[in-house]
Amino acid sequence: MLIDFLFVLVGGLKFGAIYALGAIGLVVIHKATKTVNFAHGALIMLGAYATFFLLERFKLPYWAVYVLAPTLVGAVSAFLEFAILRPIRRADMFIVIIATVFLAIALQEAVRLPYDVEMLSVAAVLEGDPLFLGDLIVTQESMWIIAGAFLFAILGALLFAQAGLGRSMRAMAQNIRGAQLCGYSVDGVYVFAWFVGGGLAGLAGVFSAPSLGVSPELMVATIVPAFVAAVIGGFDSLRGAILGGLILGIVENIAATYISAGLKSAISFLILFAVLMIRPEGLFPEGRVRKV
């Protein structure tokens, strides 16, 4: 009994780690640029495709994929900021939202055209024997995803919180003019935030490629949980996004196992709705100034 439950928990942690990684990129972009990136799922999907190409076509080693794929996706993301979002930075918020939504559709279609039906698969990173922790069996792949994704998520959060760059991003998000007067370059910070956020999305794509498969559907499959995780955390809290991903992954897996497998996506909507209605500021909000 207990072993079964632990097994479910580990499975939940694995997805939770991927969700957390997705959510954290979303939060980085929102924190720095006040843009809600509905194209984030598409960036994760791009990360998965990049993994497939680098690994299966170019036969690169996995460590190189972990470096190259996030860099590539980060570059695409930075380019999108530069080419499409920069011209509409001053436009109405709705216009920005719609622009990212249609970017997502365009990116999805761009990969759907050549690889429509097939679900591409990639090898797991670690294919050694599973580990036996008492009676609990955990594959090395799961271990790596849980450990690795959380490690990267926490690293990203620390980097953002500590580095001068995180400070300039936060300054920018709170008061653009003020930050400009203090000598920060808005354009530079925006592009960089999108690079970092996109890079984190790419990383989430690399982590999810072996277990979720590489297909255009990955866009939808990852954007909803990433959003839910970010909302649970308060949307502006990196710590919250990590915990939110964790909670969502575990609750989803428990519900899918013990209640009904069909409930898996319904449960994320239920959590989303409950959090929005009861605690719209998220479970782990950052201290924020009340606007009067």
Binding site: V36, I84, P87, I88, A91, D92, M93, F94, I95, I97, I98, A99, V101, F102, L103, I105, A106, E109, A110, L113, F227, V231, F235, A266, F269, L272, F273, L276, M277, P280
Partner: protein
């Protein structure tokens, strides 16, 4: 004012254009007619979303669900209860309105991406219910829509649906046009310019938002219901999240704040996939790229092209000549009209405002601490004090924006209980704002018309209709507003957007908006902050004459000591949340206490 012929033309033009397009399709083949029917439905969605997204500023990803409610509602009525087609359509429209109400009530608590999420949850829930409730909807298998008949006449051909849908689309456009051009639309624009400024004049923001959800959802459901027999077999996927996303783009690509924007956005975007059949499998990619390109190059939407072309053709329209200083006589006459026949006189000793031990704390900070203050009716009373003294918090308790922790507030003898800010206008309390809160996108005249009052949601719907038919009530409101504008010296800029005026003139618009309802008490929050010395002098004269002619009591917060001492006969001084001195202005500022606290002297 004379009957407004231009107004009628503006209302009729979009209907006639859409009808002309629909009529033209009757000369083409069946496929063209089928697509035309699709476009007419999309146009209905476009105008519905202009109201909800563009004017009420509520983003929605639930349009597909609303359309699904319409289609399935009609079909279910016809299949399970043998209802005639039009009864089914009426039921489905009501169902859409109910859906809008259910979604709108929780939705008003949210903005931006949170709202997008909430509406998305609604969207998924509706589709899940439709898919799972097999016995009613046929579930994922789909539901066959029976043959539609109207008064015994069976609708079979595509052109018959074009005629039917064009009729209802025309009605919807007319209805939406009346609302958008009328008082309802003005109130929505006022809200989106400044929610605080709107609430202060009795606009219940959440009420308008719910009404916008109800109206737009009903129109979308009506569109879905009318088209249902053309689809023949309904399937929940048609109304999924993707359809909601595509529909949200209609007003944004077309132009968010105008009826034409909704018509053009809906028509062109829905035509897109049909026109793009030539590019085959690249259809979605090209479509998305076109939408993005329009957004990037025309952030105001496609209607912006018209504006640019008109500007290019007409050259630069001569800017209205700088407003001359209005003649004192004209102003006095306007003031006289505003004051009405009855000369104002207040019995001696009448009290306009009386607060008793009003307190308000933020955490451990006692912002306002047991303040007792009395303002005599008809007087001009000033409130000064150093920064952080609690003046603004105290002011906000009087205007209802902040409920006091303790204490009572009476206005002309009536105790203000829990009434929120928007109710205070009914008690004859109007206010201006330190950071001017004019409705920037509205004309000066419309700003002041909102100040006249009767801004609750249902009244605004009636006013909109009254305005469309040039009714007497709205002419009277307009007349009053023009007088108020003339009284503050802004008669010649009545038609200009309030946001385009100088700061001093924006303050004048606020004053006109505050006096037009002939309030008994006006709260002025730093009325001359940020204006030059000359303008300051003119505003002082203006406020004096308003006080004299209208008999309105004025309670003024001001940092500018010279101004407030000149303007007000009595002065209260606040420091650390308490009143530390009160009396005739000239004497109060001489008192030692005040000089010490305020000027740091002694």
């Amino acid at each position: 004012m004379k009957r407004d012929g231009a107004g009628f033309r503006e209302l009729a033009a979009p209907v006639l254009v859409v009808w002309a397009g629909a009529a033209a399709s009757l000369f083409f083949d069946r496929y063209t007619q089928y697509v035309t029917a699709l476009l007419l439905v999309a146009i209905m969605v476009g105008i519905a979303l202009v109201i909800l997204v563009g004017l009420a500023r509520m983003i929605t990803l639930a349009s597909g669900a609303m359309m699904g409610l319409g289609a399935y509602g009609t079909a279910a009525m016809m299949v399970h209860w043998d209802a005639p087609f039009l009864v089914g359509v009426a039921f489905a429209t009501a169902l859409g309105a109910l859906g809008g109400l259910l979604l709108g009530l929780p939705a008003t608590r949210f903005r931006g991406h949170h709202l997008a999420m909430v509406t998305m949850v609604f969207q998924f829930v509706v589709i899940i219910v439709i898919s799972e409730w097999d016995s009613l909807t046929g579930g994922v298998e789909g539901m066959r829509v029976p043959q539609a008949t109207i008064a015994g006449y069976a609708l079979k051909a595509d052109w018959e649906y074009v005629v039917l849908i064009a009729f209802f689309a025309g009605l919807s456009i007319l209805f939406a046009g009346i609302l958008i051009r009328g008082h309802f639309g003005k109130a929505l624009k006022a809200m989106s310019a400044t929610e605080v400024g709107a609430e202060a004049f009795g606009i219940y923001v959440a009420g308008y938002q719910v009404m916008a959800f109800v109206i737009s959802s009903a129109i979308i459901a009506l569109g879905g219901a009318l088209f249902a027999p053309e689809i023949r077999i309904l399937d929940p996927d048609q109304y999924g999240i993707l359809s909601s996303v595509l529909m949200l783009a209609y007003p944004i690509v077309g132009g968010m704040t105008s009826l034409w924007g909704g018509i053009i956005g809906g028509g062109l975007l829905r035509a897109g996939p049909e026109l793009l059949r030539v590019v085959d499998e690249y259809q979605e990619l090209v479509y998305a790229a076109i939408v993005i390109a329009v957004i990037v190059f025309l952030p105001g939407g496609l209607v912006e092209i018209y504006g640019r072309v008109a500007a290019a053709l007409g050259g630069k329209r001569a800017k209205a000549s700088p407003p001359e200083r209005p003649q004192a006589a004209a102003r006095a006459a306007a003031l006289g009209h505003l004051a009405g026949a009855h000369p104002v006189s207040h019995p001696k000793g009448l009290v306009a405002l009386k607060t008793a031990s009003v307190s308000k704390s933020y955490g451990s900070l006692k912002a306002v601490s047991a303040v007792d203050l009395t303002v005599a009716a008809g007087s001009m009373h000033g409130l000064i004090g150093p920064n952080g003294a609690g003046k603004t918090t105290f002011f906000n308790t009087i205007s209802g924006f902040i409920p006091p922790d303790e204490g009572t507030i009476e206005i002309f003898g009536r105790r203000m209980a829990e009434e929120p800010a928007r109710a205070r206008i009914r008690f004859g309390v109007a206010r201006t704002f330190q950071n001017v809160a004019v409705y920037r996108t509205l004309s000066c005249l419309d700003n002041v018309i909102i100040g006249v009052g009767e801004n609750d949601v249902v009244a605004s719907l009636w006013h909109s209709i009254d305005e469309a038919v040039g009714g007497r009530a709205s002419r009277a409101r307009r007349e009053r507003a023009l007088n108020a504008l003339a009284a503050v010296g802004l008669a010649d800029v009545a038609g200009e957007a309030a946001g385009s005026l100088s700061l001093g003139n924006q303050r004048r618009v606020e004053i006109a908006r505050a006096i037009v309802s002939k309030p008994k008490l006006i709260l002025l929050d730093e009325p001359v902050s940020g204006v030059g010395a000359e303008e300051e002098e003119r505003l002082k004269e203006l406020l004096r004459s308003l006080n004299r002619e209208l008999g309105v009591t004025m309670f003024v917060i001001e940092h500018n000591i010279r101004f407030v001492v000149d303007l007000c006969e009595r002065l209260s001084v606040m420091s650390n949340g308490r009143i530390i001195a009160e009396g005739a202005s000239a004497e109060v500022i001489k008192s030692d206490d005040v000089r010490r606290v305020y000027f740091g002297e002694g």
